[in-house]
Amino acid sequence: MNTKKLSYDKGIILFSFNTPECEYSRITEKCIELLRIHCPDIPIVVVGDKIIKSANWTILSDDPPPNLHNLDGPKQWKNLARVDAYELSPFERTVVIDSDYLVYDDCIMKLFESNQSVLAHRSWCDLNYLNVSNLPMGKSLLDMLWATVLMFDKSTEVKQMFTHWYDIIKNYQYYAGLFGLNKRMVRNDHAFTLAMAKIQNYGPVDHAIIPWDIITANQNIEVKKISNNEIVLEDQHGEFTVNQSIHILNKESLLNAIK
Protein backbone atom coordinates (compact mmCIF):
# COMPACT_ATOMS: atom_id res chain seq x y z
CA MET A 1 0.00 0.00 0.00
CA ASN A 2 1.30 3.43 -0.89
CA THR A 3 0.95 5.39 2.35
CA LYS A 4 2.29 8.59 0.83
CA LYS A 5 -0.50 8.55 -1.74
CA LEU A 6 -3.07 7.94 1.01
CA SER A 7 -1.87 10.92 3.00
CA TYR A 8 -2.44 13.19 0.02
CA ASP A 9 -5.89 11.85 -0.81
CA LYS A 10 -7.60 14.04 1.74
CA GLY A 11 -6.79 16.99 3.92
CA ILE A 12 -7.85 20.22 5.51
CA ILE A 13 -7.00 23.74 4.36
CA LEU A 14 -7.14 26.81 6.56
CA PHE A 15 -6.66 30.41 5.43
CA SER A 16 -4.87 32.71 7.80
CA PHE A 17 -4.00 36.33 7.07
CA ASN A 18 -3.30 38.71 9.94
CA THR A 19 -4.98 42.10 9.88
CA PRO A 20 -4.09 45.23 11.89
CA GLU A 21 -7.01 44.45 14.23
CA CYS A 22 -6.73 40.69 14.55
CA GLU A 23 -3.86 38.24 14.80
CA TYR A 24 -5.56 35.44 12.89
CA SER A 25 -2.44 33.25 13.05
CA ARG A 26 -3.06 32.74 16.79
CA ILE A 27 -6.64 31.64 16.11
CA THR A 28 -5.40 29.34 13.33
CA GLU A 29 -2.92 27.70 15.71
CA LYS A 30 -5.73 26.97 18.18
CA CYS A 31 -7.92 25.64 15.38
CA ILE A 32 -5.13 23.26 14.31
CA GLU A 33 -4.60 22.13 17.92
CA LEU A 34 -8.28 21.11 18.09
CA LEU A 35 -8.21 19.48 14.66
CA ARG A 36 -5.24 17.33 15.70
CA ILE A 37 -7.32 15.98 18.60
CA HIS A 38 -10.65 15.47 16.87
CA CYS A 39 -9.52 14.67 13.31
CA PRO A 40 -6.22 12.87 13.90
CA ASP A 41 -4.04 11.81 10.96
CA ILE A 42 -5.61 14.31 8.59
CA PRO A 43 -2.97 16.57 7.03
CA ILE A 44 -3.51 20.29 7.48
CA VAL A 45 -2.32 22.97 5.09
CA VAL A 46 -2.40 26.65 5.95
CA VAL A 47 -2.50 29.33 3.27
CA GLY A 48 -1.39 32.60 4.77
CA ASP A 49 1.14 35.33 5.36
CA LYS A 50 3.04 33.62 8.17
CA ILE A 51 4.44 30.12 8.69
CA ILE A 52 2.32 28.12 11.10
CA LYS A 53 4.57 25.48 12.64
CA SER A 54 1.80 23.17 13.81
CA ALA A 55 0.46 22.76 10.26
CA ASN A 56 1.86 20.07 7.95
CA TRP A 57 2.61 22.73 5.36
CA THR A 58 2.17 26.46 5.05
CA ILE A 59 1.66 27.96 1.62
CA LEU A 60 2.92 31.51 1.90
CA SER A 61 0.77 33.79 -0.19
CA ASP A 62 0.48 37.47 -0.98
CA ASP A 63 -2.28 39.23 0.89
CA PRO A 64 -5.63 38.81 -0.85
CA PRO A 65 -7.51 41.98 -1.83
CA PRO A 66 -8.70 43.66 1.39
CA ASN A 67 -12.36 43.34 2.27
CA LEU A 68 -14.39 45.12 4.93
CA HIS A 69 -16.74 43.78 7.52
CA ASN A 70 -18.91 46.36 9.16
CA LEU A 71 -20.74 44.46 11.87
CA ASP A 72 -18.96 46.39 14.59
CA GLY A 73 -17.53 49.35 12.68
CA PRO A 74 -15.55 48.93 9.46
CA LYS A 75 -12.60 46.57 9.87
CA GLN A 76 -10.23 45.05 7.38
CA TRP A 77 -10.87 41.42 6.57
CA LYS A 78 -8.55 39.37 4.34
CA ASN A 79 -10.93 36.58 3.45
CA LEU A 80 -10.93 36.72 -0.34
CA ALA A 81 -8.29 34.05 -0.92
CA ARG A 82 -10.82 31.28 -0.24
CA VAL A 83 -11.74 31.13 -3.89
CA ASP A 84 -8.18 29.93 -4.66
CA ALA A 85 -8.68 26.82 -2.51
CA TYR A 86 -9.24 24.60 -5.53
CA GLU A 87 -5.97 25.61 -7.18
CA LEU A 88 -3.94 25.63 -3.98
CA SER A 89 -5.16 22.39 -2.45
CA PRO A 90 -2.73 19.48 -2.80
CA PHE A 91 -5.53 17.04 -1.91
CA GLU A 92 -7.98 15.07 -4.04
CA ARG A 93 -10.61 15.76 -1.39
CA THR A 94 -10.35 18.93 0.65
CA VAL A 95 -12.23 20.40 3.56
CA VAL A 96 -11.75 24.17 3.82
CA ILE A 97 -12.46 25.47 7.28
CA ASP A 98 -12.55 29.00 8.66
CA SER A 99 -9.97 29.27 11.39
CA ASP A 100 -12.69 30.63 13.69
CA TYR A 101 -14.60 27.36 13.31
CA LEU A 102 -13.50 25.39 16.34
CA VAL A 103 -13.76 21.64 15.99
CA TYR A 104 -14.88 19.71 19.08
CA ASP A 105 -16.18 16.52 17.44
CA ASP A 106 -15.39 14.15 14.60
CA CYS A 107 -18.19 15.23 12.26
CA ILE A 108 -15.73 16.53 9.65
CA MET A 109 -14.55 12.95 9.18
CA LYS A 110 -18.01 12.10 7.82
CA LEU A 111 -17.50 14.63 5.04
CA PHE A 112 -14.38 12.78 3.93
CA GLU A 113 -16.35 9.51 3.72
CA SER A 114 -19.23 10.91 1.66
CA ASN A 115 -19.77 10.24 -2.07
CA GLN A 116 -20.74 13.85 -2.77
CA SER A 117 -18.28 16.10 -4.57
CA VAL A 118 -19.26 19.28 -2.67
CA LEU A 119 -20.75 19.66 0.80
CA ALA A 120 -21.52 22.80 2.79
CA HIS A 121 -23.87 23.93 5.55
CA ARG A 122 -27.19 25.60 4.76
CA SER A 123 -29.01 25.78 8.10
CA TRP A 124 -27.50 27.54 11.09
CA CYS A 125 -28.18 27.44 14.79
CA ASP A 126 -27.91 30.85 16.44
CA LEU A 127 -27.02 30.36 20.11
CA ASN A 128 -27.93 33.91 21.05
CA TYR A 129 -31.54 33.74 19.86
CA LEU A 130 -31.93 29.93 20.05
CA ASN A 131 -33.03 29.88 16.47
CA VAL A 132 -32.39 27.33 13.73
CA SER A 133 -33.04 28.56 10.21
CA ASN A 134 -31.82 29.07 6.68
CA LEU A 135 -30.70 32.59 5.83
CA PRO A 136 -32.14 34.14 2.67
CA MET A 137 -29.45 35.50 0.40
CA GLY A 138 -30.04 39.23 0.09
CA LYS A 139 -33.46 39.89 -1.41
CA SER A 140 -33.48 36.70 -3.43
CA LEU A 141 -35.33 33.45 -2.76
CA LEU A 142 -32.06 31.54 -2.59
CA ASP A 143 -31.03 30.13 0.78
CA MET A 144 -27.48 31.08 1.69
CA LEU A 145 -24.87 28.34 1.84
CA TRP A 146 -22.13 28.81 4.41
CA ALA A 147 -18.57 28.70 3.07
CA THR A 148 -17.28 28.22 6.64
CA VAL A 149 -16.91 24.45 6.27
CA LEU A 150 -16.65 23.38 2.66
CA MET A 151 -15.77 19.95 1.34
CA PHE A 152 -14.87 19.58 -2.31
CA ASP A 153 -13.31 17.07 -4.66
CA LYS A 154 -11.05 17.80 -7.59
CA SER A 155 -13.33 17.34 -10.61
CA THR A 156 -14.34 19.23 -13.74
CA GLU A 157 -17.69 20.30 -12.27
CA VAL A 158 -16.17 21.51 -9.02
CA LYS A 159 -13.48 23.41 -10.92
CA GLN A 160 -16.26 25.06 -12.91
CA MET A 161 -18.01 26.02 -9.69
CA PHE A 162 -14.82 27.66 -8.39
CA THR A 163 -14.47 29.51 -11.71
CA HIS A 164 -18.02 30.87 -11.22
CA TRP A 165 -17.11 31.80 -7.64
CA TYR A 166 -14.06 33.72 -8.88
CA ASP A 167 -16.11 35.53 -11.55
CA ILE A 168 -18.78 36.46 -9.01
CA ILE A 169 -16.21 37.99 -6.65
CA LYS A 170 -14.66 39.85 -9.59
CA ASN A 171 -18.06 41.22 -10.60
CA TYR A 172 -19.51 41.44 -7.10
CA GLN A 173 -21.12 44.86 -7.55
CA TYR A 174 -23.19 43.53 -10.43
CA TYR A 175 -24.34 40.43 -8.51
CA ALA A 176 -24.93 42.47 -5.36
CA GLY A 177 -27.29 44.72 -7.31
CA LEU A 178 -29.01 41.77 -8.93
CA PHE A 179 -29.62 39.83 -5.71
CA GLY A 180 -29.96 42.72 -3.25
CA LEU A 181 -26.72 42.07 -1.37
CA ASN A 182 -24.61 44.49 0.66
CA LYS A 183 -22.37 46.16 -1.92
CA ARG A 184 -19.80 47.37 0.63
CA MET A 185 -18.73 43.94 1.79
CA VAL A 186 -17.87 40.99 -0.41
CA ARG A 187 -19.21 37.93 1.35
CA ASN A 188 -17.75 34.55 0.43
CA ASP A 189 -20.93 32.81 1.55
CA HIS A 190 -22.92 34.78 -1.01
CA ALA A 191 -20.42 34.28 -3.83
CA PHE A 192 -20.24 30.56 -3.08
CA THR A 193 -24.06 30.27 -2.93
CA LEU A 194 -24.36 31.96 -6.31
CA ALA A 195 -21.62 29.80 -7.80
CA MET A 196 -23.44 26.66 -6.61
CA ALA A 197 -26.73 28.01 -7.94
CA LYS A 198 -25.15 28.74 -11.32
CA ILE A 199 -23.59 25.31 -11.62
CA GLN A 200 -27.05 23.82 -10.90
CA ASN A 201 -28.86 26.21 -13.29
CA TYR A 202 -30.51 27.74 -10.19
CA GLY A 203 -32.04 24.35 -9.36
CA PRO A 204 -31.94 22.60 -5.98
CA VAL A 205 -28.63 22.03 -4.23
CA ASP A 206 -29.97 19.52 -1.69
CA HIS A 207 -27.34 16.96 -2.66
CA ALA A 208 -24.60 19.32 -1.45
CA ILE A 209 -25.94 20.06 2.02
CA ILE A 210 -24.25 18.97 5.24
CA PRO A 211 -27.14 17.42 7.16
CA TRP A 212 -26.56 19.14 10.47
CA ASP A 213 -26.60 22.81 11.42
CA ILE A 214 -23.63 25.10 11.74
CA ILE A 215 -23.67 26.15 15.38
CA THR A 216 -22.83 29.83 15.57
CA ALA A 217 -21.94 32.14 18.41
CA ASN A 218 -22.70 35.59 17.02
CA GLN A 219 -21.06 38.92 17.82
CA ASN A 220 -23.09 39.28 21.05
CA ILE A 221 -21.49 36.17 22.50
CA GLU A 222 -18.07 36.46 24.10
CA VAL A 223 -15.57 33.68 24.55
CA LYS A 224 -14.66 33.42 28.24
CA LYS A 225 -12.50 30.32 28.31
CA ILE A 226 -11.28 27.82 25.79
CA SER A 227 -9.88 24.33 26.32
CA ASN A 228 -9.36 21.31 24.11
CA ASN A 229 -12.65 19.73 25.22
CA GLU A 230 -15.05 22.62 25.51
CA ILE A 231 -15.50 26.35 25.17
CA VAL A 232 -17.15 28.62 27.73
CA LEU A 233 -19.20 31.45 26.26
CA GLU A 234 -21.19 34.30 27.72
CA ASP A 235 -23.97 36.58 26.51
CA GLN A 236 -26.68 38.70 28.14
CA HIS A 237 -28.36 35.53 29.43
CA GLY A 238 -25.27 34.26 31.23
CA GLU A 239 -22.47 31.74 30.82
CA PHE A 240 -22.79 28.45 28.99
CA THR A 241 -20.52 25.65 27.82
CA VAL A 242 -20.35 24.09 24.36
CA ASN A 243 -18.62 20.79 23.60
CA GLN A 244 -19.40 20.51 19.88
CA SER A 245 -17.99 22.22 16.81
CA ILE A 246 -18.85 25.89 16.76
CA HIS A 247 -18.35 28.96 14.57
CA ILE A 248 -17.22 31.96 16.62
CA LEU A 249 -18.02 35.35 15.09
CA ASN A 250 -16.61 37.48 17.93
CA LYS A 251 -12.96 37.14 16.90
CA GLU A 252 -11.63 39.69 19.39
CA SER A 253 -12.93 37.76 22.38
CA LEU A 254 -11.76 34.49 20.85
CA LEU A 255 -8.27 35.90 20.48
CA ASN A 256 -8.31 37.22 24.04
CA ALA A 257 -9.36 33.81 25.36
CA ILE A 258 -6.59 32.09 23.41
CA LYS A 259 -3.94 34.50 24.71
Binding site: D105, K110, E113, N115, P211, Q244
Partner: protein
Protein backbone atom coordinates in the same frame (compact mmCIF):
# COMPACT_ATOMS: atom_id res chain seq x y z
CA UNK B 1 -37.09 29.45 38.12
CA UNK B 2 -35.79 32.83 36.93
CA UNK B 3 -35.97 33.88 33.29
CA UNK B 4 -32.20 33.46 33.00
CA UNK B 5 -32.42 29.92 34.31
CA UNK B 6 -35.27 29.16 31.92
CA UNK B 7 -33.23 30.50 29.01
CA UNK B 8 -30.20 28.49 30.09
CA UNK B 9 -32.28 25.31 30.26
CA UNK B 10 -33.71 26.00 26.81
CA UNK B 11 -30.23 26.67 25.37
CA UNK B 12 -28.71 23.55 26.93
CA UNK B 13 -31.53 21.44 25.49
CA UNK B 14 -31.07 23.05 22.07
CA UNK B 15 -27.35 22.29 22.18
CA UNK B 16 -28.10 18.69 23.12
CA UNK B 17 -30.59 18.45 20.25
CA UNK B 18 -27.93 19.85 17.90
CA UNK B 19 -25.39 17.33 19.14
CA UNK B 20 -27.80 14.48 18.48
CA UNK B 21 -28.58 15.89 15.03
CA UNK B 22 -24.91 15.87 14.03
CA UNK B 23 -23.88 12.66 15.79
CA UNK B 24 -26.77 10.55 14.50
CA UNK B 25 -25.61 11.01 10.90
CA UNK B 26 -23.52 8.09 9.67
CA UNK B 27 -21.97 7.29 6.32
CA UNK B 28 -22.74 3.94 4.69
CA UNK B 29 -21.27 3.10 1.27
CA UNK B 30 -20.55 6.80 0.80
CA UNK B 31 -24.17 7.86 1.48
CA UNK B 32 -25.31 9.73 4.58
CA UNK B 33 -28.17 8.42 6.71
CA UNK B 34 -29.75 9.56 9.94
CA UNK B 35 -29.88 6.94 12.69
CA UNK B 36 -33.30 8.12 13.87
CA UNK B 37 -36.48 6.21 14.68
CA UNK B 38 -37.87 6.67 11.16
CA UNK B 39 -34.82 5.16 9.48
CA UNK B 40 -34.70 2.32 12.02
CA UNK B 41 -38.34 1.47 11.21
CA UNK B 42 -37.81 1.84 7.46
CA UNK B 43 -34.71 -0.38 7.59
CA UNK B 44 -36.89 -3.32 8.69
CA UNK B 45 -38.44 -3.33 5.18
CA UNK B 46 -35.12 -3.34 3.30
CA UNK B 47 -33.88 -6.45 1.53
CA UNK B 48 -30.48 -7.25 0.03
CA UNK B 49 -29.55 -5.25 -3.09
CA UNK B 50 -32.34 -2.72 -2.63
CA UNK B 51 -31.89 0.95 -3.51
CA UNK B 52 -32.73 3.52 -0.86
CA UNK B 53 -32.44 7.32 -0.87
CA UNK B 54 -30.01 9.00 1.52
CA UNK B 55 -30.29 12.38 3.28
CA UNK B 56 -28.89 14.19 0.22
CA UNK B 57 -31.56 12.60 -2.01
CA UNK B 58 -28.95 10.38 -3.61
CA UNK B 59 -29.72 6.71 -4.34
CA UNK B 60 -27.67 4.11 -2.50
CA UNK B 61 -27.56 0.36 -3.13
CA UNK B 62 -27.75 -1.66 0.10
CA UNK B 63 -26.07 -4.94 -0.77
CA UNK B 64 -26.32 -6.44 2.69
CA UNK B 65 -29.52 -5.35 4.45
CA UNK B 66 -28.59 -7.07 7.73
CA UNK B 67 -25.28 -5.25 7.88
CA UNK B 68 -27.03 -1.93 7.23
CA UNK B 69 -29.61 -2.63 9.96
CA UNK B 70 -26.87 -3.61 12.43
CA UNK B 71 -24.85 -0.46 11.76
CA UNK B 72 -27.97 1.69 11.99
CA UNK B 73 -29.22 0.11 15.21
CA UNK B 74 -25.82 0.44 16.89
CA UNK B 75 -25.60 4.11 16.00
CA UNK B 76 -29.20 4.69 17.09
CA UNK B 77 -28.62 3.04 20.48
CA UNK B 78 -25.33 4.86 20.99
CA UNK B 79 -26.85 8.27 20.32
CA UNK B 80 -29.95 7.62 22.45
CA UNK B 81 -27.79 6.53 25.38
CA UNK B 82 -25.77 9.71 25.10
CA UNK B 83 -28.97 11.75 24.78
CA UNK B 84 -30.41 10.15 27.91
CA UNK B 85 -27.23 10.74 29.96
CA UNK B 86 -26.87 14.36 28.89
CA UNK B 87 -30.61 15.04 29.29
CA UNK B 88 -30.54 13.81 32.88
CA UNK B 89 -27.55 16.04 33.65
CA UNK B 90 -29.33 19.09 32.21
CA UNK B 91 -32.63 18.67 34.05
CA UNK B 92 -30.94 17.96 37.41
CA UNK B 93 -28.98 21.26 37.29
Amino acid sequence: MSSKQRFKLKRDLLLLEQRVKSQEVFVYNGSMFRADATTVAYAQTIQDNMIIIDINKTPCMIENADDFRRTLQLKHNEILNEYNNEYQKIIIR
